[in-house]
């Protein structure tokens, strides 16, 4: 039992964190009122006139809205699927190798790309998929005309999804490795005594044991359906791929901070945040109901 006199010290310990939270997390939330105002930099946020839902109405009339919404969902959904299946298959493959030195080496190397910034990865992709880059050299060796991948609207989403999976699959596999090591080894021993082959053990023991974890991760990732990855798209896109590569976040950046349509950009951003909050709440509730998952 903690003495009551501790409480005031607890408050003191919380002060620095709460100040940070108030000024840099909560105070910016107040700024969403710009979505309901005709923002005028001269007047500032407080004295700009209210215009109700005008910004939202305008947003739904814009052709851009449909495009960026579709692009966002397409990219984010493909990433969700890829970032679930590739790490899962990879973890299962590595789990079949019994040489500890080998598995440890592979793990160390595949985790690395996660720690590189999107500027670095974007820069590397630019070189690799450049017109005179190695991928095009390979293609032309096979008799295919070189492609300007980064200016090709058809290729761009695949490039985004592919490079994201390249960067994150190793890191995303960590959780599967943890789940795989917690499978009871007695099951494998019993199966081996009964004459189950390595393949049968994989199908009948390993995969069923790891499915709950995969289902949980799939549920939790639902909240990200509007997060297509701003940093990545921002470093890799250009006007010639806007039709398939422009996402909500990059559009908001250009509308708000380049074209100074503060009200409109805030409205779009706010809608995205609200939908995201609802989705994430639903996915966490589902995860809690069915898997007893709790964040704290």
């Amino acid at each position: 039992m903690i003495p009551r006199s501790f409480a005031k010290h607890f408050y003191i310990m919380l002060i620095p964190g709460l100040l940070w939270l108030i000024f840099f997390n909560l105070y910016p939330m107040y700024g969403v009122v710009a979505a309901f105002k005709e923002y005028n930099p001269g007047l500032g946020l407080w004295r700009s006139p209210w215009i109700g839902l005008e910004n939202f109405k305008y947003m739904f009339e814009l052709d851009d809205s449909k495009i960026i919404f579709r692009n966002t969902v397409v990219i984010a959904f493909s990433k969700m699927i890829g970032n679930l299946i590739v790490p899962l298959v990879f973890a299962l493959m590595l789990n079949e190798v019994k040489n500890r030195l080998f598995t440890r080496t592979v793990q160390t190397i595949v985790y690395l790309p996660h720690f590189l910034s999107w500027v670095i990865v974007g820069g590397m992709m630019l070189d690799i998929f450049a017109y005179n880059g190695p991928v095009n050299s390979l293609l032309s060796a096979m008799g295919v005309e070189p492609i300007l991948f980064l200016a090709n609207a058809n290729a761009f989403p695949a490039l985004i999804v592919g490079s994201d999976i390249w960067k994150e699959f190793g890191f995303n596999a960590i959780i599967f490795f943890a789940a795989l090591t917690s499978i009871n080894p007695e099951m494998y021993e019993a199966a081996a005594i009964d004459g189950a082959s390595q393949w049968q053990r994989l199908i009948k023991i390993t995969i069923p044991s790891i499915m709950p974890v995969a289902a949980l991760l799939a549920t939790l990732s639902l909240g990200n359906i509007l997060n297509a990855g701003f940093d990545q798209v921002f470093t890799m896109y250009n006007p010639s791929v806007y039709s398939t590569g422009d996402i909500i976040d990059t559009w908001v950046y250009r509308a708000g901070l380049i074209d100074f349509q503060h009200g409109l950009a805030t409205a779009v951003g706010l809608l995205k945040s609200v939908v995201g909050l609802v989705l994430i709440t639903v996915s966490y509730t589902l995860a809690y109901r069915f898997a007893n998952y709790r964040i704290f």
Binding site: W20, F24, N25, S117, I120, I193, F296
Partner: protein, 294 residues
Amino acid sequence: MIAERSAASRLLNGLNFVLLIIIMLLCLAPVWYTLSISLSDKAAAAGGQVFLWPKGFTMGSYMKIMEDAQFFRSAWISVQRVVLGAAISFFVILLMSYPLSKTSRDFKPRNVFMWLLIFAMLFNGGLVPWYLTMQSLGLINNIWGLVLGGGLPVFNVILVMNYLRNMPKEMEESALIDGAGPWRILFSICLPLSVPVLATILVFTIVYHWNEFFQALVLMNKSDMYPLQSYIKQVAVVIDPTKMDAEQVKRTAELSNQTLNAAKIFISMLPLLVIYPFLQKYFVKGITLGSVKG
């Protein structure tokens, strides 16, 4: 305990092994390729002759960076940002997670604060309100905007808090009996016992501040205040659509700075490659700690 392996099983295992080696090499290839380009002759790189080995080996690109004052200025800003950002978040998180690790019986408003934190983690006002806030706080062209602008790292607070909650209660109780106060318990018991999780969040924070590039592009009006990643984004990772016409690409390739840019990219990831062995010791723990029992 492994049953006799059939020929088919041996074949599958061999195939698996080879595939894993290919996957591993694919993870390294882009890094290696960037290094090769940076050490190559300009014309060879532009002609697309470089694959996995530098062509016309030269240190010229690295020599050129030595003369680039802005590169060093940006690197210094990055270092300052990392040190300030890591030190501040470390202490704030340590102080905050101890009271929050108490049950609501021991510290009544605990759950209120927890929900406030969760809300702040899941909802944000968006880019424009954030920018207007930074403006009104006077954090334009100011390194503190980069240090604090990301907001309280709530996820890391939760990580440390969960770790402290899973600590055996008896430790704290015996310290209480010996007459230790809250600060004594925090610094003499919680701090030394949670070194693994604190190292994890320290690593996460350092990587975050080193890699984050977007905030400075927005907050700094002058590019001489950019940290390294923002500087590289601005000068080296540029996709100019006017150069995207196939014929023009060929003509401008000769003039491009591809090798110099590759050298900049490589140097900027060097610090991460150097601390990586240390880093990877801790983050695996951190990730698995994140999936927590209540």
